[in-house]
């Protein structure tokens, strides 16, 4: 930037939300599918994510990060809220019906069966880092900031997750 460059206005207006939503819907959905391990849940959470994003669109500041990162942050908090609610519901149900059979899981569409099976054996945290770094191709720093961990910890978590995934796939093939 030169000395004569026009300074960026403090309140640069973001582009229309519809355009941003259309551009990033795939990324947010894929992130949620892998994170939750359930396509049906991911669809609902994706709708809820964009509902929140629409309400908060005026707060988005392009200087603090990209649209995709901002949307993924909202998606993450939405998913965590879902997990917490599910955990509370589960505890209540166990009190009254401890032998309830597990609900049938919706398969992860698109993935090969071996890959899908291996993904389902990973923890949500491991799947999340894979979704952010591999599917969405976020850099280590951005992903670490989203996860609330350090850059090195993020890289190590990804390496362990991928190694575990490969082991599970290898075991499945074997």
């Amino acid at each position: 930037m030169t000395a004569f460059a026009t300074p960026r206005p403090r309140t640069a207006a973001p582009r229309p939300f519809a355009a941003a939503a259309a551009d990033h819907l795939e990324d947010v959905y894929r992130y949620l599918v892998v994170f939750t391990g359930d396509a049906a849940v991911a669809e609902d959470l994706a709708a809820e994510t964009f509902e929140k994003a629409l309400r908060w669109w005026r707060r988005f500041d392009p200087r603090r990060g990209s649209e995709r990162t901002w949307l993924c942050g909202i998606a993450r908090s939405t998913a965590l809220d879902h997990f917490r609610a599910e955990a509370r519901r589960r505890r209540r149900e166990e009190r009254f019906a401890p032998e309830e059979p597990a609900a049938a899981d919706a398969p992860l569409p698109g993935f090969a069966p071996e890959l899908e099976a291996a993904l389902c054996t990973l923890t949500a945290g491991e799947r999340e880092v894979i979704a952010l770094r591999i599917l969405l191709d976020l850099d280590a720093e951005t992903a670490a900031r989203l996860l609330g961990i350090g850059r090195t910890a993020c890289s190590m978590r990804l390496a362990r997750a991928l190694q575990k995934l490969e082991e599970r796939m290898t075991d499945a093939v074997a």
Partner: protein, 384 residues
């Protein structure tokens, strides 16, 4: 099958950045990454339709709500700040009192009903005297001294009068005249100090004049210069006089009773000794009470006038407006605000610290709970 050689985190970052794999595990890893990226599912059409419908919903309602929210976000703090400022300013803008404000101490009944004595404007030497003489009809009783209603009650009257003279010569002459006035009226000079250097000077004279001649004294002293300040303090002494009179009566009767008993000759030695000791104490008490009463009556008999003479220009009126007054008010306000902030910080500091620590603890607990959840393959759901 032997476990594949693990790829380090640093090497993984290099591979993700585009580095070429160098051995079998890295090749497999790269294949895994490619599979994840290519096989990732696409968003279903239903989701796109839902999103399109929601985004295209009327935006007017959303804008209206957020507009009023923004107005409230600005208006509420502004109103609170305005209210706080008004409160602070009203505290600094107390009714201005000059040096001749109403005095402390008990006031004579009826004095409060009269016009405040301090409403006289300064620099009204001739006008004041003329008004005084005209209102009194020549009797010397002025509106000023009418605040002392005619009553037989004993009162201690203290008056302060400040006059400005033109120069040191005039001041010196006025000081001499003031002392002469007090003597002519039957009073005396209780103290004086005169200081004249060059063309300037000041004098402080304490006069005592009989209370019944106070009006005359005020009129004649006021005519010596230009009034710049005046004050009157009236303290009721009658109650103290009456109390002592009552005690004197009681003690005198006790003394007389003991005297009669001793004269009767009917007391045994022990009773006689007790009566004599009691008689002695009561006589001493009687003397003290009579002395106290006399002192109060002497105080009430004369009024004290503290006369101050000076040659300097009158000080700026306390209620002067303009830039100087506004600046003073501003500094007062800043001082109060600063004091309030420091006080608030001292009070609120520990509480804020406790709140922050509690918030950090809750946040840490929440993160640990989330980490436990994310450590499950299906967070919150039934396990296989």
């Amino acid at each position: 099958m032997p476990s594949p050689e693990p790829v380090t985190a640093d090497r993984l970052e290099e591979l993700l950045a585009g580095a070429a794999p160098t051995h079998e595990p890295e090749v497999r890893l790269q294949g895994l990454v490619r599979a994840l990226r290519t096989e990732a599912p696409a968003a279903p059409d239903e989701l796109r339709a839902r999103l399109r419908t929601r985004v295209e919903a009327p935006a007017r309602t959303r804008l209206r709500r957020s507009k009023w929210r923004r107005v409230a976000l600005v208006a509420v703090p502004a109103a609170a700040a305005f209210a706080a400022t008004s409160f602070l300013v009203s505290g600094t803008d107390a009714p201005r009192r000059d040096a001749a404000a109403s005095a402390p101490g008990e006031t004579v009944a009826g004095a409060a009903a009269t016009e405040p004595l301090t409403t006289r404007t300064p620099e009204s030497k001739n006008a004041y005297v003329e008004e005084a003489l005209s209102s009194s009809g020549g009797t010397g009783r002025t509106k000023f001294t009418s605040a002392l209603p005619d009553t037989a009650r004993a009162r201690d009257v203290d008056m302060a009068l400040e006059l400005r003279l033109r120069d040191a010569d005039e001041l010196s002459a006025a000081a001499t005249d003031a002392m002469r006035v007090s003597r002519e009226l039957g009073g005396f000079v209780a103290g004086s100090r005169v200081d004249t250097r060059g063309g300037e000077g000041s004098a402080s004279i304490t006069l005592r004049v009989p209370v019944r001649r106070l009006e005359d004294a005020v009129v004649r002293l006021s005519a010596l210069g230009t009034i710049t300040a005046q004050d009157v303090t009236i303290q009721d002494l009658q109650r103290g006089v009456d109390q002592r009179a009552r005690r004197i009566e009681l003690v005198a009767r006790a003394v007389r009773a003991d005297e009669l008993r001793l004269e009767s000759g009917t007391l045994d030695p022990e009773e006689r000794l007790e009566a004599e000791l009691r008689l002695e104490r009561n006589r001493a008490l009687l003397r003290d009470l009579r002395l106290q009463r006399a002192a109060l009556l002497r105080r009430a008999a004369t009024a004290e006038i503290d006369l101050t003479l000076h040659t300097r220009a009158a000080a700026a009126a306390p209620d002067a407006g303009g830039a100087a007054g506004a600046a003073r008010d501003a500094f007062d306000l800043l001082g109060r605000v600063g004091t309030g902030l420091v006080f608030g910080a001292i009070l609120a500091g520990p509480l804020l610290l406790a709140l922050v620590l509690a918030w950090l603890a809750v946040r840490r607990r929440s993160r640990r709970r989330d980490d436990r959840l994310l450590g499950e393959p299906r967070p919150g759901l039934a396990r296989d």
